[in-house]
Symmetry: C2
Subunit: 381 residues, 2 copies
């Protein structure tokens, strides 16, 4: 299997390479794309010998070209798309572990080329679901989710007639500030926000977990992945992060996927699909765990979740507005420009001031994404 | 679909008829077998119009024959087998909801006739698994479990490659005496024992839940149903009875089946298999439930579970000895002849005094079953 790994130096990318490393040469890394972590790019080149490497900036590309004359290099958005579509067509899998809306275009062009996708970039479906789903059919391409919740839902539907699915229940750990009141949220710092109780993830998704936007994006992603109406997508606060999600059937039976929080499990599932391959992770021990808890995930405490449902139900460009406003706001928060609660303020403001458009194209989505981010950066920087 | 319902007046039989009643004429009840509840047999005849009816005793058969001249009747073991094999072969399903070893022969002959089986009679596989499994292959017959745990395990394996199953975990409510010490068990009454915390079941299985023999029988049943080694069949005390069982895969993922305790769910699944058909039961609400608990199921507190593993691992006639000793002892307990803890004493005594035999036939199993029961009744009555 030939892998085209986008976001190779990020949290998911690094864990994907770890699975590749332990898979007895089953996978060959043909291309990688990364952004600014050039030291790690060099290590990956030495270990995995990709033919094509894309990085964020031209200067980095130039530096790497001198060091590795036998490797082909690219940079920026164009390099990213080239990493996804590089070379001829074989037994291929594009692993898209890019963070943010930048992940949409490479998925789009990889599908057009006929390459199967393992998707950690939830924005691909959140902002582009209405474009991507018809494209998958047209090119007979399989897209397997890497997000632990969506991997769980997919596995809970294995061998089942999809018309018997009544609802899906996405679990949420509650994020770094699960036990804080909204009053207490006024004073939280970036450092506090980056301290997730269960999962070790990148900065963007950790902040999104704290605001609950991550769960909101997952609701929209699930809608497009599993073709389930928003009214049948539920969320539940499950602080242990052991049940990764559940599917309810028409006879009241629920099937759940459980495991210790370890992203290598859904990564392994996605890149080996349809095979389930041995992974020597920590087995789940229910007895030493003792108990699992479930609470309501309140829209009052977590208004971002409500915004996401609303934007998803409206469809068209509204999920793009939601996501772009959030991406820009989270970046401003991480850079110390705004407070934690201002992330919400920015998102609801953008949802109120930007119009919707129901007919989408890749260009119209990316244009709106830029427009909203520009607005946020200009207004709040 | 034509149903041949054995144990029609018992707990599972009555609930099966309730599913049939609400299935818009999808099922036609061709035959029923019952024991002594003749009033209920009459009601079933009036509502479902079976062609053949078997009851426990000759006198009851004679009485019914006069009342319903258009119905054919039988009685005893022969009548039971006739109820399972009655008529020509069509789109048939034998629902075996008999309690105890009496359920083996009708399953055996129904399979020989080529009829698919929905099995609530766990003794069929516990004492006859080594005979039944080759017979299923030979006659290309499907056997679907009705036990909630085994239905759960089967559903957790839907669409999965069976070679990737690492272990199965059977949950146990703990039964009526879950929170009692062994010292406290010395004084318990039949009435105490029949008061199960979660499930409304027949007397035999409720006592077996209290002694944990029910879980032991389920371990042996699971071994034959799913071809999993005893070392990979685990049990866990889960007092809420919400997770009905789990399957662990080779990548550490666990798939679980959840639902409110309601036997109509696995009955509906078994008789509609491979379809999953709508059942308007009470939906599971994780949030109002709040939490799920897991504890070790101790072999010291519940020695019957250990006896069952040991008998299962020995194989041959030892599961028959285990089951027969237990059936007889439970009957003596229900009749007030022995104390609760004497059930265990009788089982371990029989396991120690009866020899094993590894080559089995239907006759040798039934003969041993009789021998052990006779011994127990003679010794303790």
């Amino acid at each position: 299997m030939r892998l085209f790994l986008l976001g190779a130096t990020g949290n998911i990318g690094v864990q994907t390479l770890d699975i590749v490393r332990n898979s007895n040469d089953k996978f060959h890394v043909v291309s990688i794309a990364a952004n600014k972590n050039i030291n790690l790019v060099k290590e990956i080149i030495k270990e995995f010998h990709p033919k094509f490497v894309s990085v964020g900036l031209l200067e980095a590309k130039n530096e790497l070209e001198e060091l590795y004359p036998s490797v082909e290099f690219g940079y920026g958005d164009e390099g990213l798309i080239k990493a996804a579509t590089y070379g001829d067509l074989g037994e291929d899998l594009v692993v898209n572990a890019i963070v943010g809306s930048a992940g949409l275009a490479p998925t789009y062009y990889a599908i057009k080329k006929g390459r199967n996708i393992a998707l950690a970039n939830k924005e691909t479906l959140v902002i582009g679901g209405e474009l991507i789903n018809p494209l998958l059919k047209e090119h007979n391409v399989t897209l397997i989710p890497i997000d632990s919740e969506h991997s769980a839902i997919m596995q809970c539907m294995n061998g089942e007639d999809k018309t018997t699915v009544k609802s899906i229940v996405i679990t949420a750990s509650g994020g770094s500030f699960r036990d804080k009141t909204r009053e207490e949220l006024k004073k939280v710092t970036v450092k506090d926000a980056l301290n997730h109780p269960n999962w070790d993830m990148g900065a963007k998704i950790t902040i999104d977990s704290a605001t609950m936007m991550n769960k909101g994006l997952e609701v929209i992603e699930a809608h497009y992945l599993f073709n389930v109406a928003y009214s049948n997508i539920k969320t539940v606060l499950h602080k242990e992060s052991i049940i990764h999600s559940l599917v309810e059937y028409n006879d009241t039976a629920m099937i759940a996927h459980l495991g210790n929080p370890d992203m290598r499990v859904p990564i392994s599932y996605a890149i080996n699909y349809p095979e389930r391959v041995e992974y020597k992770g920590k087995p789940l021990d229910l007895i030493s765990l003792g108990s699992l808890h479930f609470e309501e995930l309140s829209f009052v405490r977590f208004p971002m979740l409500q915004y996401a449902y609303d934007a998803g139900i409206k469809g068209g460009l509204m999920p793009t507005v939601l996501n772009a406003a959030n991406e820009a706001a989270v970046q401003l928060f991480l850079n110390g420009k705004i407070t934690f609660l201002q992330i919400e303020e920015i998102v609801i403001k953008c949802l109120n001031i930007f119009d919707n458009e129901l007919e989408l194209s890749l260009d119209s989505v990316l244009e709106r994404d830029n427009l909203v981010k520009d607005y946020v950066f200009k207004t709040y920087s």
